[in-house]
């Protein structure tokens, strides 16, 4: 994680890791999750889903902090995160 100023207790804080799951065929490509993810780890896929929208893909799995914002802002029940111990390697 990049900090503007490294916090003094950075070694003692456990950063929570999340694993993002995307249900491609529910997505309508509004881009809200991509725009408002505080870690900016999502981007539009080049692929189309069944309805012809571009769903998001994760560009940087290890940076998800499981804040769930993508999950709560999504109007389509198409994306959610779950807490994991280690950043996922996918």
């Amino acid at each position: 994680m990049n900090f503007w100023r490294v916090p003094l207790d950075t070694n003692e804080i456990d950063v929570v890791h999340g694993e993002v799951h995307i249900i491609d065929d529910r997505c309508k490509g509004c881009g809200y999750c991509i725009e408002f993810c505080p870690r900016h780890i999502l981007e539009f896929s080049l692929q189309f889903n069944a309805k012809g929208y571009h769903p998001p893909v994760v560009k940087n799995f290890k940076d998800c902090v499981n804040c769930h914002y993508c999950e709560v802002i999504c109007p389509e029940f198409a994306i959610f995160s779950v807490e994991v111990d280690e950043p996922p390697v996918v």
């Binding site: 981007e43 709560v72 029940f77």
Partner: protein, 282 residues
């Protein structure tokens, strides 16, 4: 090319899958429409409340927001236009153990059903009313609504709107609502908390949620969905307990959000028991 992998060790389900009719998803709402976010927030509040799911009923009227009743996997009721509140009132009076939620839009609740709204608030019916306010009649093609701002172009006001819009929290307060709040769909965490609070308290609760209608409002007024969300982020001020009279919506000046009213007053059911069921009347 990046794609979404299927090789996760275990495939969890979306946390709200248990509360939606999965066979009807993707729902009918347009891309970027805020109704889905408000609906999802409402389901999260229901789930987090820890209350018995068999004791919930969701009632909707007509309009895009009215479709919510058809997507929720709880007892639900899709009623006639403007009449969600009378149906909800009936449900509540017949079975006072139910938590009754009305989920509908600004047109249904405040134009077609305006009269029902003020009287349910006056009686302090113990229901929770969630109003998705997108400033327009979305489903019928973008006609001017009772909430449309002066500056807005609609199919029936091509030069701008000469009518003054309602200040919904003021209307709710003046009619007698005992819980009044306003959020935008971008403030979804505050919204979820607020709906949870409204569910847990007795009396008539009203929450207004500002929400984009990219197709029938945004397109005509040259506002992309993302620009509307940015406006919600930058031109809003959270001010709890603000005076309801100062809650007119003006994004130039800044729109006030927050919880405005939270007070106690005997509900209709309590008054009924006290006045009509007291021993001397039996």
């Amino acid at each position: 090319m990046r794609y979404n992998s299927d090789n996760f060790m275990k495939k969890p389900e979306h946390p709200l899958n248990g509360l939606i009719r999965k066979d009807r998803i993707p729902h009918i709402w347009c891309s970027g429409c805020g109704i889905g976010t408000v609906f999802s927030s409402c389901l999260t509040s229901i789930k987090n409340s820890g209350l018995d799911l068999n004791k919930f009923a969701m009632v909707s009227g007509i309009g895009c927001s009215g479709r919510a009743a058809g997507y929720v996997k709880l007892d639900s009721f899709h009623t006639t236009h403007g009449r969600a509140i009378p149906f909800a009132t009936g449900l509540k009076l017949a079975n006072t153990d139910l938590n009754v939620i009305v989920f509908s839009g600004d047109g249904d609740l405040f134009a077609i059903g305006g009269n029902h709204f003020i009287h349910a608030a006056r009686r302090n019916m113990d229901i929770t009313v969630i109003c998705v306010n997108n400033f327009i009649y979305g489903m019928t093609g973008g006609q001017v609504a009772a909430t449309t701002p002066h500056s807005a172009i609609s199919t029936t006001t091509p030069f701008g709107n000469p009518e003054s819009p309602f200040n919904l929290p003021l209307l709710a307060y003046a009619s007698g609502a005992t819980y009044v709040a306003r959020w935008t769909m971008l403030h979804v965490r505050d919204l979820t908390e607020s709906i949870g609070e409204a569910l847990s308290r007795k009396g008539f609760s009203f929450i207004e949620i500002l929400s984009p209608c990219p197709i029938n409002y945004g397109r005509r007024n040259k506002k992309l969905p993302m620009e509307i969300l940015k406006m919600y982020q930058e031109n809003t001020i959270i001010k709890n307990n603000a005076d309801p009279a100062e809650l007119d919506i003006d994004f130039e000046r800044g729109v006030i959000l927050g919880k405005f009213i939270d007070k106690d007053r005997p509900t209709y059911t309590e008054n009924y028991d006290k006045i009509c069921r007291s021993t001397q009347n039996v």
